[in-house]
């Protein structure tokens, strides 16, 4: 099969069960480069499983999942490693390694993923002026991106919840992945910290045009993703102006219920929906 990069991620009739519980129910989905998906759903609706199945951490019972045009459903774990190197994930719990420092955590993808180990000394890892960027440089750059450069030598346990989430983002983006998956990045955070996290996600998306899937239960997160963009000149997040910006149309909303997709569409379509389950997510955020 020839890898096809025009579709970053494709789910074809994917189902997954745990005993009697349905996690994913005949789910089909396509994510294109630069596109943003915001996934809403109640607890246990299969949102996290969607992300885990997307990178092969959990194998579906039936259906096919393709990443960058390559079907991953039947691949061995060893073969999945190289494909996963092109995906960044922020886990709900952060997933930072307790026994490693912040710097070691952020460096982990670069030092452990085969393809990224090679890239660290090839043009992809170079600064463009012939100088080769070391792993250390890239780690610092990534931590600077989340404004936590001063925490290099700290351990995750020494950081606040919001800082741990930001380090998680730094680790997810250090390898400049083509697809980023965020599992409830704002869960359990105060509104100010939550907005900081969303601003970082926007910044990463708009600077690198990364395809993004964000699972959340805050409507406001989705609203920001659809209507705001990062301005590299001012370094600020600002409201996207209609017409010249594509983020509005490239942001799609999904709503999941008991493993099924019950809604797929743009923000105006979401707001117009009369489905009582879908409308619950509109009321929660109230943005």
């Amino acid at each position: 099969m020839t890898p096809d990069d025009s579709i970053v991620l494709r789910f074809e009739d994917v189902s997954l069960h745990f005993d009697a519980t349905v996690a994913l129910d005949h789910l089909s989905l396509e994510v294109h480069p630069g596109q943003t998906y915001v996934v809403f759903g109640a607890a246990g609706s299969g949102k996290t499983m969607l992300l885990k199945v997307a990178v092969g951490l959990v194998r579906p019972d039936s259906g096919r999942v393709s990443l960058f045009g390559q079907e991953i459903t039947g691949l061995r774990e060893q073969d999945l490693f190289d494909i996963r190197a092109r995906v960044g994930i922020l886990f709900q719990e952060g997933g930072l390694f307790d026994s490693l420092t912040v710097a070691e955590n952020v460096a982990y993808p670069l030092t452990n993923q085969r393809v990224l180990q090679q890239a660290a000394v090839t043009p992809e890892g170079s600064a463009g002026n012939g100088a080769v960027r070391t792993v250390d440089d890239r780690v610092r750059e990534s931590l600077r991106f989340v404004e936590l450069e001063e925490t290099l030598d700290k351990f995750p346990a020494e950081l606040s919840g919001g800082m741990r989430r930001r380090v998680g983002i730094a680790r997810a983006v250090v390898s400049a992945p083509a697809l980023l998956l965020y599992d409830s990045p704002t869960a359990g955070l105060d509104p100010i910290t939550a907005n900081t996290i969303i601003a970082l996600i926007l910044k990463e998306r708009d600077l690198r045009n990364t395809a993004t899937i964000m699972v959340t239960h805050r409507y406001q997160d989705g609203h920001l993703m659809a209507n705001f963009r990062y301005n590299p000149n001012s370094g600020q997040i600002e409201r996207a102006r209609g017409g010249e910006d594509v983020s509005q149309v490239s942001t799609k909303f999904l709503v999941m219920n008991a493993g099924r997709l019950v809604f797929e569409g743009t923000e105006p379509e979401l707001q117009a929906s009369q489905d009582p389950y879908v409308r619950k997510f509109l009321r929660v955020g109230g943005a």
Binding site: R84, V87, F91, G95, D98, R114
Partner: protein, 255 residues
């Protein structure tokens, strides 16, 4: 009826698969030598004091118990041989293994369990590392190397404990005690005394890792996994020592 059997059979299948992958990874790269040495330090050096202490007192107790019985037959001179045989064949390996199971099977299960519930295991897989290669295999190698060594140390210190009693209470000289102890042991006993801790080590490491890796249900789940790991590994140690002794006697000891 079949539904009741399904979970334990599935668990056993998972355990066997984990064991096969952990052993297969010993011969595959990448090798995490640093992790192996760290685990050897945690399991081996960390258990040294307590293992020595238990060894010393089990030697003392054996000598005290045997002294009374042997004195009735005027055979107190044989205390060295009885302490040596019981310690090297059975008590040394089993007591050391039970102690290490309590200390390290629980430690392994709780560490891996915490990593599982905080999604660190998933993160590891997502970031290109096989958790079995990185977490299970180093613990298996480290335990399999250090438990036989700890057992040798425990046996020796137990013999020293026995000597304290033999010389202090029974008036045996240094050479009387150590000569009988030395002569009582055959190569057969030494091999059995080293095979057992090796087998127990494999069980302790794999059971600890198995329960850790299948932890679910947050911090409560970590507690459950830790308890299950200690209980299972301790039970397996006693079952296997009986099995190995039986097979060994049938195979190598002339009746």
């Amino acid at each position: 009826m079949l539904d009741i059997l399904k979970p334990p059979i599935e668990a056993f299948q998972e355990f066997v698969l984990l064991s096969i992958r952990a052993v297969r990874n010993i011969f595959r790269s990448p090798h995490y030598a640093d992790d192996i040495f760290v685990q050897m330090d945690v399991i081996g050096v960390g258990s040294l004091f307590i293992v020595s202490l238990i060894g010393l007192f089990s030697g003392i107790v054996m000598a005290l118990q045997m002294a009374r019985a042997l004195t009735q037959y005027g055979a107190q001179g044989q205390v060295g041989s009885i302490v040596a045989i019981t310690l090297v064949r059975e008590l040394g390996p089993v007591l050391t293994a039970v102690l290490v199971a309590g200390r390290n099977a629980s430690g392994i299960a709780s560490e891996l369990g915490s990593m599982k519930v905080t999604e660190q295991i998933d993160a590891m897989r997502a970031l290109g590392t096989d958790p079995i290669q990185k977490l299970v295999t180093p613990r298996l190698i480290a335990t399999a190397v250090v438990l036989p060594l700890l057992t040798i140390i425990s046996d020796f210190i137990g013999l020293i404990g026995g000597y304290f009693i033999a010389s202090g209470m029974l008036g045996l000289t240094f050479s009387e005690y150590w000569t009988t102890a030395w002569q009582a042991l055959e190569y057969n006993d030494l091999f059995q005394g080293l095979l057992k801790p090796f087998v127990f080590a494999v069980i302790i490491a794999l059971v600890g890792c198995f329960y850790g890796m299948r932890t679910t249900g947050g911090t409560q789940g970590v507690g459950r996994s830790t308890t299950s790991a200690v209980v299972s590994s301790s039970v397996w140690i006693f079952v296997l020592t009986a099995f190995i002794t039986y097979v060994w006697n049938r195979a190598f000891v002339k009746q």
